[in-house]
């Protein structure tokens, strides 16, 4: 990141902003969000409000990417999942507070976004989701929206038919398969999402060795319950990916 910062420092404000606006991570000119946060923090020193505003907008656009849209279209109707917008709002609030504290007191709590932006956003999103779901105690899935309309690859389909979530991303287009499965998992109700996450990490349902981690042990449920939840999670993922009918 230091090299990228040094390179960007050589550019004018306008040229920097032009680079910052490139949002495709595959572009060779793409600037990592950690760098954007660095330059956002630097604006506190140069006291140039216009530049701060531009950078703020760009940092927020990156910050907002992991938050799925609250609005989805279903059979010509617009449906709004308020839990999704609440999760984004809840996650954003502490981030804004950290930006304020950083500008006013050079507070160190923004450091993590400059070191590992995606990780920090993941933490914010996790905290926000837990708070919102605790409040609504919802069982219904968050809306799932396929973003690219792609067909599921045969490898994914086969893996799903084998009913093993951990094998879902072994197709030839691993990155895209993984993304689609993770998006489907993200939309699952909490209890299914947890089991699916553990299956994605190849953790066993049960273990006779008490020192070994198992799904039933970690979630404090019986192996039978863990298996039932995994089966239901897999069924819901199949539905979300368009591989099975909604029952």
């Amino acid at each position: 990141m230091e090299a990228q910062i040094a390179e960007l420092m050589e550019l004018s404000c306008e040229a920097q902003l032009e680079r910052f606006r490139i949002s495709d991570p595959k572009s060779p000119s793409y600037v990592r969000p950690e760098c954007l946060v660095y330059f956002l923090r630097e604006t506190a020193r140069d006291n140039y409000e216009g530049h701060f505003r531009s950078l703020f907008d760009l940092v927020m656009a990156r910050y907002g990417k992991p938050f799925r849209p609250a609005e989805v279209q279903r059979e010509g109707k617009t449906l709004v999942d308020t839990a999704l917008s609440e999760i984004r709002d809840r996650a954003t609030q502490p981030f804004l507070e950290k930006i304020v504290a950083d500008r006013q007191f050079r507070d160190g709590r923004l450091d993590i976004y400059e070191i590992a932006f995606a990780m920090a956003v993941a933490r914010d999103r996790s905290d926000a989701r837990r708070a919102v779901l605790r409040k609504v105690q919802r069982e219904e899935p968050l809306y799932f929206e396929s973003e690219d309309g792609r067909e599921v690859t045969p490898a994914v389909e086969k893996a799903l038919s084998d009913a093993t979530i951990s094998d879902l991303t072994t197709g030839t287009d691993v990155a895209n398969d993984r993304k689609r499965v993770l998006t489907a998992i993200d939309a699952l109700p909490e209890k299914y999402r947890k089991v699916a996450t553990m299956r994605m990490n190849n953790l066993p349902f049960e273990s006779s060795d008490p020192t070994c981690v198992s799904i039933s042990g970690a979630l404090n449920c019986t192996p039978k319950t863990a298996r039932a939840r995994a089966a239901e999670a897999e069924r819901r993922i199949r539905v979300a990916l368009g591989l099975a009918e909604q029952s």
Binding site: M60, P66, I115
Partner: protein, 190 residues
């Protein structure tokens, strides 16, 4: 380390900084079973967020960012300082920061009996920090009229009038601050 020695927050923070959180999940679940659910949630979020780098903008992105900007501006707007902000806890913090000064110095500042321009910048900065305000907000507060003594209205036949403000140096002398401490404070070395 066991889960009783680390808070959930500290464990999640450490997990976040692992070079490969996915590989570390099992180890963390083993070490910190009390935080299993939070770790599993975070593991999913990390995996999910990493796939979202090229996600398209949501339809309400502009409005959401504009809302965030408005919130940020409201939070960044300099907040005026009031006498109520000089709570006993804050005055106690000031005493801890300036051990050579007796309480009366801070109550006099609270009552705006001191000329703001005579207070060294370093002291203004530290006081503003304790009050969690900008130095300008503290300066604006101190430049307001000094507070009347509560008994003033009952002891005089003429309308009560605030006493003239004194310099910071005179305040220190009146408060009995030693010469050495006074010099150090006025030099800005404390």
């Amino acid at each position: 380390m066991t889960s009783t020695e680390w808070t959930e927050d500290a464990v999640l923070e450490a997990f976040l900084l692992e070079s490969s959180p996915a590989d570390a999940l099992e180890r963390y679940l083993q070490r910190y079973p009390d935080y299993a659910e939070a770790l599993i949630d975070l593991a999913h979020e990390i995996a999910f967020v990493e796939t979202r780098g090229d996600a398209p903008a949501t339809s309400d992105e502009d409005a959401w960012i504009a809302g965030a900007w408005a919130k940020l501006n409201a939070a960044l707007a300099p907040k005026a300082l009031t006498a109520n902000d000089w709570s006993p806890t804050i005055i106690q913090q000031m005493q801890s920061a300036f051990t050579a000064l007796p309480t009366v110095v801070f109550t006099c500042l609270r009552d705006r009996k001191v000329l703001a321009s005579t207070i060294p910048q370093t002291i203004m900065g530290r006081l503003a920090e304790i009050l969690q305000r900008e130095v300008d907000a503290l300066k604006a507060f101190l430049e307001g009229p000094s507070v009347l003594a509560r008994s003033a209205a009952y002891k005089s036949k003429t309308p009560p009038k605030a006493a003239d403000k004194i310099s910071f140096e005179d305040l220190l002398k009146d408060a009995g601050v030693s010469d050495a401490d006074r010099r150090r404070l006025l030099d800005g070395s404390e």
